[in-house]
Symmetry: C2
């Protein structure tokens, strides 16, 4: 534990919640305690407290703990606040059907790209960045597309503060290389993540802007690089650009 002004029990409880949320299966008490490095009695007390509040749920039959109803209800508020998510779904679905790949919607929050919604490919794939997931903006097609709407000074400032995450050999690692990419993005109207986030994964993205010109969010299509080849990327990008423009028109005049 660091010497922060944090409330220990709350940090621990949220850590448990996150662990429950990131594993598909339910978790047993003792596993959880071992994984979190806490005493079983402590974990038990924290879990039952969260159970009272409905944030976790205990399945007595299997004696497993799950994420609870209230966590879902609270989390839903995060998306409901962004009233563009619901109307975007139809465009994401169309992109998925046109490309047979996974379609995503994301925004920048605190310099990271957060995936807000996703319509998964029907082919076999696990979601790399599930809803709620986040990535360094410079390693993401949606992130770069949104950054490209900023001024050069803002981008430079941002990079100075956040640096560059080198998630793969292809990730940008200098401001110069990023800015060259940004200029291309501005010129052609869409961004490409060419295995810059995860090796083997390619992604094309375009932003949807309000009539006033403010970027609202980004739409993207992502897929395995050998399926979403460099050759296929361009036509798919065209689809993404069109979808983003139509979506922007739909939500523009409200």
């Amino acid at each position: 534990m660091e010497r922060t002004g944090d409330v220990q029990s709350v940090s621990r409880a949220l850590d448990l919640l996150t662990r429950l949320g990131s594993s598909e299966e339910g978790q047993r008490l003792s596993e959880l305690a071992r994984a979190a490095g806490l005493a079983v009695s402590t974990v038990h007390r924290l879990l039952t407290t969260m159970q009272q509040a409905g944030f976790v749920h205990f399945d007595p039959a299997r004696s497993e703990w799950h994420v609870g109803r209230e966590a879902f209800a609270v989390g839903a508020a995060y998306v409901q606040r962004r009233d563009f998510v619901a109307p975007a779904m139809v465009f994401l679905r169309r992109l998925r059907d046109e490309s047979r790949e996974t379609a995503n919607l994301g925004i920048l929050e605190d310099g990271q790209l957060v995936t807000l919604a996703q319509v998964e490919s029907r082919e076999i794939t696990r979601a790399i960045s599930p809803p709620g997931g986040r990535v360094a903006a410079t390693c993401s097609a949606m992130g770069k597309a949104l950054l490209a709407t900023w001024t050069d000074e803002q981008i430079a400032m941002f990079c100075k503060q956040n640096g560059f995450r080198k998630l793969t050999p292809n990730s940008h690692r200098t401001l110069a290389s990023l800015m060259a990419d940004i200029r291309t993005i501005r010129k052609r109207g869409f961004a490409i993540d060419d295995e810059e986030h995860v090796a083997g994964l390619r992604c094309v993205a375009a932003v949807a802007s309000s009539p006033q010109g403010d970027a609202i969010c980004a739409l993207s299509v992502s897929g395995l690089a050998n399926r979403l080849s460099a050759a296929r990327a361009s036509p798919v990008a065209g689809r993404v650009v069109v979808a983003a423009r139509e979506f922007a028109q739909k939500i523009g005049p409200r």
Copy 2:
């Protein structure tokens, strides 16, 4: 505070999270403290702790606190665990379009009906029971439809334990009246909530069952009673029954 074995700070933190989740707007620190009945310094410490974990987010420009990204990510896990939610959406949408009313999907959890997904009517209406919301099973069409798949003994036991919530004058208040309703539901294959949950609201529901015959979830259509009249309820119910059956077939053979 009661004399439970609860962890005070965690209960308080989750209470704050819930408050943030249930108000559309962001909340200021001092409002939150006043509403929760806690000292500002305490609330501030709890919020910054949750901020570290990404569960709440602070907007410095407006100095307002919001539900954070991680809460969304964890909540999403709740739905992802129920892998029938995504494939149900297309059926909910169809029901909405056929009926021009709101379509819902729900399950029973701990004896309460939890709404997991919803496709809202395009007419002006606010959702009475939003996703994540819960209702006493005996006051809900989906709840009664799911209860009807239980044995009479199980239902009697359930009612003995949970009693009857009398939310409106029409709510069931005796086992006899509920069981009469249950028998009708089993016979005709769908349930009706005739202003038993909220006055002025009618709802028709049917269950979707696995090939093994286990009830998985319920689908429903809900609307204002004067629009979803008694006369209209029957044909709409037919649609719901068909949608539930087709949905069950779709998810059955995986």
